[in-house]
């Protein structure tokens, strides 16, 4: 028996795709992904209409989806993150139906709870056998972890694996099992691995960023959480990576043995694992090729599913045991709510990803961002979009001061500890005032009443909406 078919078109016809169905994709090839575009092109040529695309993320490389929306092939988009190119079109009123944003934990959990149904999942697999066992660890297009794709494979009615490295059955060290897979297609290239590396995955050399990182590391040290058993997640921003470096220095100097590092994994987290700072890495996606190599070669660098990482449908998730998470923000408001969905002009250029999941789980949720970016103050009266509720945020670190969130009856001890460590503790209102003294007060952005996106919280409830830009 073999599940191999000759083309994407043949697979689409064999799975019985119909107008109005929902198809899904995962984003481990990130901005190097070819599969979403290839599948939509095949589907468009076959004349299908009115499909909903549920992709864990939509990157700039997926810009052709705008054309498929205009032609009526795609009428719904659901994702956890959306790059600026498609985001701008959405905010200019591209679609009738609002985009649905979920979180990295909410997306798989909604599938598992049955509130988000996938008719056909297309899985970009860097290596697969002809029965559909597949993995991201090997092959010319290796992307490492395939964490987000598990829920799609396990919950979709039909599953198509698309690979550019077909190997004899049975594939050794598979991630996703053949039991979920209906068809396998071999193509020339599923993507360009160079596109996996996001533009921000380097330690900053900007003095403002280094100052923020220095404060952030000192906050972690002063919090009392940096001890044996420490668990930690960082994003891939320049200043957060610099913070990770400083945290590593402290851990090595004091001989602290942490338990796990998590998240999108970069070479800096791999370095911390190899230097004995962590017992293990829990990896839901690789942010660079060093991480891809590590997950392939080091058994302590483990692939986890998105549900295991951040879901709410499992009996527990790894975010629940996080000590510290470092997160970015485009805006923070006076209630400590955070916007990572839209830019200061109201255009979509991001999404929650795991932002609100980790914020909800971690003991210490830290936002790290400059006081002012290109004349725009970080702290605003009210965020244009609330991506992460203020009640789940503990500290905002800028180069001019650190605000501790005591608004929800917590963190009083932390505030005292930071003051005792001689860190520049200020109120969130002070950060807003300081920025406006330097930059001026920005005029509020004008938005229309047309809702272009719904932002769903990890538990499936509506957190906020995004309106079209005037």
């Amino acid at each position: 028996m073999s599940k191999l078919v000759n083309s994407i078109k043949e697979a689409v016809q064999k799975v019985g795709l119909k107008d109005g169905m929902t198809i899904s994709f995962h984003h481990h090839m990130r901005n190097g992904d070819f599969v979403l575009n290839m599948v939509l092109e095949a589907i468009a040529e076959l004349g299908y209409k009115d499909l909903t695309v549920n992709a864990s993320s939509v990157f700039d490389v997926h810009e052709p989806i705008i054309g498929h929306v205009k032609n009526g092939v795609v009428t719904g988009i659901e994702c956890n993150y959306m790059g600026g190119k498609v985001g701008k079109a959405i905010c200019e009123g591209l679609m009738e139906k609002p985009v649905i944003f979920r979180t990295h934990g909410g997306r798989p959990s909604d599938m598992e709870k049955g509130t988000s149904h996938i008719d056909v999942a297309f899985i970009a697999a860097p290596t697969a056998d002809d029965m559909g066992n597949c993995t991201g660890k090997y092959g010319k297009s290796a992307c490492g972890s395939m964490g987000y794709a598990f829920a799609d494979a396990m919950n979709a009615d039909k599953v198509v694996v698309i690979t550019d490295n077909l190997v004899p059955h049975p594939l050794v060290d598979f991630s996703i099992s053949e039991i979920y897979v209906d068809y396998v297609v071999e193509v020339d290239q599923i993507g360009n691995p160079a596109g996996i590396v996001s533009g921000t995955t380097k330690i900053t050399r900007d003095p403002v960023g280094l100052k923020m990182a220095d404060y952030a590391a000192k906050v972690i040290e002063a919090s009392g959480l940096l001890k044996d058993g420490f668990s930690f997640q960082t994003g891939a921003g320049g200043a957060t990576l610099a913070t990770a470096k400083y945290v590593q220095d402290i851990m090595l100097a004091k001989g602290i043995k942490g338990s796990y590092g998590m998240g999108g994994i970069t070479k800096y987290m791999v370095e911390m694992l190899n230097n004995g700072c962590f017992q293990a890495l829990l990896d839901v996606q690789c942010f660079d090729l060093d991480a891809v190599q590590s997950i392939r070669e080091n058994p302590k660098h483990m692939e986890v599913t998105a549900t295991h990482y951040a879901g709410v449908s499992g009996k527990s998730a790894a975010v629940d045991n996080l000590d510290v998470v470092l997160l970015g923000a485009t805006q923070v408001d006076l209630d400590f709510g955070v916007n990572v969905h839209t830019d200061s002009n109201g255009y979509i250029m991001g999404g929650s990803g795991g932002h609100s999941d980790t914020a909800a789980g971690a003991k210490l949720t830290m936002i790290i961002a400059p006081l002012i970016r290109a004349r725009l103050p970080l702290v605003v009266e009210k965020c244009l979009c609330t991506s992460t509720p203020g009640s789940t945020v503990d500290v905002v670190v800028t180069q001019r001061g650190i605000a501790v969130n005591t608004k929800y009856g917590k963190n009083q001890e932390l505030k005292e500890a930071l003051k005792k460590a001689k860190l520049p503790v200020v109120e969130i209102e002070d950060l807003k005032r300081m920025a406006e003294e330097i930059a001026g007060t920005p005029k509020p952005v004008q938005l229309t009443d047309k809702v272009v996106a719904h932002v769903m919280y990890r538990d499936g409830t509506l957190l906020d909406t995004i309106k079209a830009v005037k």
């Binding site: 002009n345 970016r373 290109a374 004349r375 930059a439 920005p442 005029k443």
Partner: protein
Amino acid sequence: MKINTSAVAGTLESSDVYVKVEPCETLEIEIESVVYNQFAEQIEATIKAVLAELGVESGKVSVNDKGAIDCVIQARVETAVKRAGGEK
């Protein structure tokens, strides 16, 4: 001060502003900015104040602003004007 020749100052880096000054019979100001919606009026007022202080009555000033704060805009406009007026 008179705008005798065209001159530039500044860069297109984030938080800077690129200012170009050219001779023109009237006074014209052209603003392009990443924070146009939030700060266009303030940017124009700042440029006008610098020009008035330097006694510039005619010339074309075009700015491509990448989110510069007022003191940066002032410095870049002043430098461009002085270069255009023949000051070294």
